[in-house]
């Protein structure tokens, strides 16, 4: 059996007993990638030689010693490409530095291996917006892997990676993890350094792990969190050992079901899987309560004003001068900007820049941007109130199973509406975890369903505890495509 199919925890045992070496893992991954990536398209590039070099001097006594981790292509790793799935950065950009999260991973002994495909600049939830390649769902090659971290999730779900890093602005870790049968964790805003993550919406972006088990997610999270002086929003707090809560029971834990989430529009199979999961959690001793998040109806509108507004400012750095695509023969500097950006950015990025510019423009700023910031306050308050009653909030990760490739290409709003459950935790800065909770059958193919747990700020420990307890009481995470 290829080592590519294993978890971090199982590989750690075999590394420590000297049964295998880090180079064995890298070689098995390279083989799996060679075999499957032409179909799945999870990776845009993989530098096996560089990974083997690192594997040769790996210190396996480190907590992640010698474990290769796939990296979403918007996180800078010194000397590697960082295309963000865009023509803008595909031609000639080489990262001149390591992201803060990569420094932390390396301190834990991990080896960044491979650049995972993504929606261009993380804008999208299908990975179809990548300008550089198609990524397919490992469970059904005709379907999307989700997104924007679709490459990361397809790599882990399809056993082309042991674990991966993604980034999550409105669900971009959790939704693809759900669609590909993986575990995905978006940490509390400020927990993980954003330094070296190419910014999309700075007040919402967070880096987090996509893994095969909850315990693996805890292990990676241990080596992602921590204060970074280079990210002014990173929190200066001590990082607990997240694996400590793994294996603890959940008797008496109060779990809230938001009544606004369980309404029409949820796919029947997903609804059934989630209700079965609720029963399972009850049998483990959790207390289920109905709660209310009364401003759920404004989540998407709020997000699709704030995120594009921030994106339009963040992406102004791509001007064809310092890095990225540059148009030929501009007549003047304005022409250089306009043409370089027109040629470098794809349609969804253009749409969001236009939308963001509009909501920030004179005459519309108060009507859209400020109003959305006010709505954001209400959404945060909803969670604050709910967490007075419960410890964890539960929902489906996505209301619908993965679309067929190309199904909604000309209808951006249809894609936006699928983010209903994943967006609010980003707006409130809360940690959220997606765990496999069953399958729905569509067209003869079993497609994974994800269960989302949302926790209190900085309470990843409880999220991981309940996620692990649920996961270990089921066999969903053991199924392979």
């Amino acid at each position: 059996m290829s080592l590519a199919t294993e978890t971090i925890v199982s590989l750690r045992k075999r590394l420590l007993s000297k049964e295998i070496t880090s180079a064995d893992i890298v070689r098995d991954l390279a083989q799996a990638i060679e075999k499957k990536n032409p179909t799945i398209g999870a990776y845009l590039s993989v530098d096996t030689e560089a990974a083997l070099k690192e594997a040769a001097c790996a210190d396996v006594s480190q907590p992640l010693g010698g474990i290769p981790i796939a990296i979403k292509d918007n996180i800078n790793v010194l000397g590697q490409p960082c295309t963000c799935g865009s023509k803008m950065l595909a031609e000639n950009y080489t990262s001149p530095y390591n992201a803060g999260s990569i420094n932390r991973l390396r301190e834990g002994g991990a080896i960044p291996m491979g650049r995972a495909n993504m929606d261009e600049f993380a804008m999208g939830s299908s990975t179809e917006n990548s300008a550089l390649g198609v990524t397919r769902n490992p469970w059904d090659h005709e379907r999307i892997p989700g997104g924007s971290s679709g490459g990361s999730a397809a790599a882990v779900g399809g056993d082309l990676a042991i674990a991966a890093l993604g980034s999550d602005t409105g669900g971009s870790i959790r939704q693809p993890a759900a669609y590909c049968g993986c575990v995905g964790l978006k940490p509390t805003y400020g927990s993980v350094s954003r330094y070296g993550l190419v910014a999309f919406a700075s007040s919402l972006d967070q880096i987090g792990p996509i893994t095969k088990t909850v315990e693996d997610a805890a292990l990676v999270l241990n080596h992602l969190c921590g204060k970074d002086q280079r990210d002014s929003t990173s929190l200066d707090i001590s990082v607990p050992d997240f694996t400590a809560s793994i294996g603890q029971e959940i008797k008496g834990l109060r779990i809230g079901l938001p009544k606004e989430y369980f309404i029409a529009g949820i796919h029947a199979g997903i609804s059934a899987a989630v209700h079965q999961a609720v029963k399972q959690l009850e049998s483990l001793g959790a207390i289920i309560e109905e709660i209310s998040l009364p401003h759920t109806d404004v989540g998407i509108a709020t997000y699709y004003i704030l995120a594009p507004a921030e994106a339009s400012a963040n992406l102004s750095r791509f001007d064809g001068v310092r890095y990225g695509h540059r148009a030929e023969n501009p007549v003047d500097v304005l022409d250089l900007y306009m043409k370089s950006r027109a040629e470098g950015f794809g349609p969804e990025v253009k749409r969001r820049i236009l939308l963001g510019t509009y909501v920030l423009s004179s005459g519309y700023y108060d009507a859209y941007y400020i109003k959305a910031q006010r709505a954001r306050t209400l959404i945060r308050q909803d969670f604050t109130e709910a967490f007075k009653k419960v410890d964890i909030i539960l929902s489906p990760t996505s209301p619908v199973p993965p679309f067929k490739l190309g199904e909604h290409q000309d209808d951006p709003l249809a894609h936006y509406l699928a983010d209903t459950f994943t967006i609010p935790p980003n707006l409130a800065g809360l940690p959220a975890l997606s765990v496999p909770c069953g399958f729905v059958n569509e067209g003869g193919k079993d497609l994974p369903v994800g269960l989302q747990f949302v926790g209190k700020a900085l309470d990843e420990a409880t999220l991981l505890r309940v996620g692990h307890a649920y996961e270990q009481s089921t066999e969903w995470h053991l199924r392979k495509p």
């Binding site: 064809g320 001068v321 236009l354």
Partner: protein, 96 residues
């Protein structure tokens, strides 16, 4: 806000994006629908609510006023599409 008007050419100029006519028509229609959806915000009275900029209220983050090393000129220029004499090259911005 209930009847959004979007001058796509003006917004494209502000966005520094050259659009083809086909793109302008398509984006105007797609963004019109998105803006119509934004009227969901009208369902709540938001006038008395304080705006939230960041999920974690952290303000005035300073570092020690000490010199730190950054990129060398060579490193900073390594990804530049055009460079000359250790500088980024771009069209003239000052009138003769």
């Amino acid at each position: 806000m209930s009847q959004p008007t979007l001058d796509i050419h003006k917004i494209a100029r502000l966005s520094r994006l050259a659009l083809t006519e086909e793109e302008a028509t398509r984006f105007e229609s797609q963004l019109g629908k998105v803006l119509e959806y934004m009227s969901a915000l009208e369902h709540h009275d938001l006038s008395a609510v304080e705006p939230t900029q960041h999920a974690m209220p952290i303000y005035d983050v300073w570092r020690e006023d000490e010199s730190r090393s950054g990129f060398t000129a060579e490193e900073a220029l390594a990804n530049a599409p055009r460079q000359s004499s250790g500088q980024f090259l771009m069209p003239r911005v000052v009138e003769e």
